[in-house]
């Protein structure tokens, strides 16, 4: 082989290797050549959930294995600070405030539904007819920001719902196992309101109300339905923000007059 040919082949090999290295650097986050030195360590690092002992009873925080209420004393062994479950919440970023077209109106009849509930059995809107006003609270998805704070707030507002002769039904398009885990960490006590799954057929109820977003999640929407089954209040809220509680309570007070 002549020297010129050998040189050309070596050159081609180098070009090939360079292409592989550039490709790796572009597609693998945190690689040395990614140009994001230091960034990976700044990103969300899940706190050590599994096998973290509960200082009260020594049990492990791993779902059913723990006999303690889900919220109890989980301390990070490294710094003694509480492990914050919020850090496990996936950051969704700022989303388009609303992304659907309502199919119901104030004064119209609320579409009935029958959906499986986290606590077992099914919950239908018609069960409440003639008995209680109903607040339907659609939230976009389990384990996401804002949603994870909304229902714990309703959990402590039971008296305000009772005072207005109203009940609450929480709905998401997640499946029952997901909703089971998610709702269990919301409170050390059982949620006082049913949480139902609009998972299959996916988002059928959200779609009937016109609050199914184009990505398959639901809007952050509140509907107040009176005892006669008529819709009296609609708040399809900016998905990035939690609706103020007082707006809902004032709407309930009007309905209950």
């Amino acid at each position: 082989m002549s020297g010129q040919k050998r040189l050309r082949r070596v050159l081609v090999y180098f070009v090939g290797i360079a292409i592989v290295m550039i490709t790796t650097a572009v597609t693998v986050p945190g690689s040395l050549m990614s140009g994001e030195a230091g960034a990976p360590s700044e990103r969300v690092v899940a706190p050590p959930m599994e096998g973290v002992p509960n200082p009260k009873n020594g049990s492990l925080m791993s779902g059913e294995a723990s006999a303690a209420p889900p919220m109890e004393g989980v301390l990070n062994p490294k710094n003694g600070q509480a492990v914050d479950f919020k850090k496990n919440i996936f950051p969704v970023g700022n989303l388009k405030p609303t992304d659907s077209i309502l199919r119901v109106r104030i004064g119209g009849k609320a579409p009935n539904f029958s959906l499986p509930a986290v606590g077992g059995g099914r919950v239908s809107l018609s069960q409440y007819l003639g008995k209680k006003h109903v607040v339907l609270s659609f939230v976009p998805a389990a384990w996401t920001p804002v949603c994870s704070d909304q229902w714990p707030g309703y959990q402590i507002a039971k008296d305000l719902f009772d005072k207005n002769n109203a009940s609450l039904i929480g709905i998401t398009v997640d499946n029952i196992p997901t909703l089971y885990s998610w709702t269990r960490q919301m409170s050390s006590e059982k949620l006082w309101f049913p949480v139902v799954s609009d998972f299959y057929p996916h988002g059928a109820v959200a779609s009937a109300y016109g609050v199914l977003r184009s990505d398959g999640t639901a809007e952050r929407a509140l509907f107040v339905i009176d005892k006669k089954g008529r819709i009296r209040y609609i708040d399809v809220h900016n998905i990035n923000e939690r609706p103020p509680l007082e707006d809902l309570i004032h709407a309930l007070e009007k309905v209950n007059k």
Binding site: V12, G16, T24, T27, P40, D84, P91, G153
Partner: protein, 212 residues
Amino acid sequence: MRAWLMRKGNKRTILWLAGALLIFICGGPLPKSAPPDSFAYPSEPSGLHERFPAFTLPAPKSDAERAYLGLSGTGAFATGQIKAQVLIIEAFGAFCPHCHHAAPYVNEVYAAIEGRPDLKDHVKIIGVGMRSTPFEVNLFKEKFHVPFPLFADNDMTIEKLLSIDTTPTFIGVKVNKEGPQERFYFRRGSFENASQFLSEIIRLSGLAQEAK
């Protein structure tokens, strides 16, 4: 062209280039799995040992709470007007389940301070409700029987000023005649041992040494 392709050396070269191209095609469209940087959760305490920023709050409606803070007027007040050597600020969310869990333990801390003559007039607690309306803060106060003053921060002014990214967060501030000074304590997340928490506050604030 065909003769050039069939040459042994050129075949190897083509294979190399094809392999590199394949990796590039397969690797190119992979989504980045990490969340956006803007949502990274900081791991270090924020503003520790830095001077505490000044801000104002509306005076509590309750006479007892105004007396607790040592306030005479009913309008807005600056945190520097609170009569204390040490101020504990709980940044909480009225709807945050971790704050609900922490509430009884924070109440315990308050009771322990009020029960100790050496601390009673020197250590004060206030709570600021991040992204919570006054209505929601009031619900939190009633539900958890919070005995110390709570304030709403629904417009996120104080949240931004104090760099709060988690609730509950506890901040300890030394106060002197010129108002709040150094942030000596910063804790993200709740606690269950009220006496341990209070001991840390006393030790890190320097109140323990003053007592000696």
